[in-house]
Amino acid sequence: MFNAADMFKAFGKHRDKAIVIATGTSGRHWREASTDMKRDVALGGSMGQTTAACLGLALGLPNEKVCLFDSEGSLLMNLGILPTVSGKQPKNFYHFLMDNECYATTGGQPVANAQNLDWAGMAKSAGYAATYHFDNLEDFASNVGDIMKKAGPVFVSMKIVPEIENEPIGRRQRQPAGRSRGEMIRDLREIAGVKVS
């Protein structure tokens, strides 16, 4: 297992102009590593559906790389998205999975069959163009540059140290308010040259 914060630092060196969507408890560390906030976008709203939203974005913006940092509990909720993705073969879609083997947000309960899931194997048999699995930072850091040059859809499974939340939700420290969804959409459309009539 390795830390999300270190993983994002290593990824950040190879991000270039990619659009990044980071989810789950681990995803918050992307804020510290990102140097291009206007290309960061939050596509949450319904657990299990962010993957699908990123697929839509990748299909709609074929000239932009779309990098999703997904979480395993959410992906399990809608596993059918794997063939939905591979059925369209988006060359610009990079699907990273931060597998912490639990529902960290809700207290760290293990996901079903948590330690025995072969995520890269599932993505491969679903039809992703390239799949990887990493359980340590060194291997990830030395491969991520090449991975970002591959044609998608690419799947990268990573074993990430869980950061379990146990405070009742109302008592948790709130992240400082970022941009609203409307502002993010406006920024992203501006960058990608999207015109809406």
Binding site: V41, Q49, A52, L59, G60, N78, G182, V196
Partner: protein, 171 residues
């Protein structure tokens, strides 16, 4: 011939999509929509995305809308009900226009239906505060355009219920 005129033809639906600038249809079919599916696949201006679960369709649509495309979700009422949280978070929550075309399984003109899918369809939409138009045959086709106009004006999802008792969009 009289019977024929009462039908809702797949051609009418596809032409409404074209008129309204639809770029993508994200769909899980219902059992009698195969001809519509084939017709959509033949259109060079239209990309058909096969989904595995209806809740995906609203999320994929959100991503496409952000990218400036005009997606439609084409699903059955059963799948719409299964998608409640995605409709909440990804369709209503996106603040973007979206037309969802929903096969009204179990719908009958006389109001009595043995199919609970039909019984809960309109109460479900009302619970979410989602406005809807009923389309039964070709003569109602204009309502599809009204749905697009309304979605755009309100930046909200709007539903077109396909209540075609005879032709089978509702099975």
């Amino acid at each position: 011939m009289v019977q024929q005129a009462a039908l809702l033809s797949p051609e009418r639906i596809v032409s409404e999509f074209q008129k309204n600038g639809v770029t993508h249809v994200i769909t899980i079919p219902d059992s009698e929509t195969n001809y519509l599916y084939e017709l959509m696949k033949e259109q060079p201006w239209l990309d058909v995305i096969s989904s595995c679960r209806e809740g995906e369709t609203m999320a994929i649509a959100m991503g496409l809308s952000i990218a400036g495309k005009t997606p439609v979700c084409l699903i059955q009422n059963t799948g719409m009900m299964e998608s409640g949280d995605s409709i909440r978070g990804m369709a209503l929550g996106s603040g973007l226009p979206l037309v969802m075309v929903v096969g009204y399984r179990g719908w009958t003109r006389h109001g009595i239906t043995p199919d609970s899918a039909a019984v809960y369809t309109e109460p479900f939409l009302n619970a979410f505060g989602i406005h809807y138009y009923l389309v039964e045959h070709d003569a109602d086709g204009d309502r599809i355009s009204l749905a697009f106009q309304e979605a755009k004006a309100t930046n909200k999802p709007v539903v077109v219920l396909i209540g075609d008792e005879y032709h089978g969009f509702n099975r």
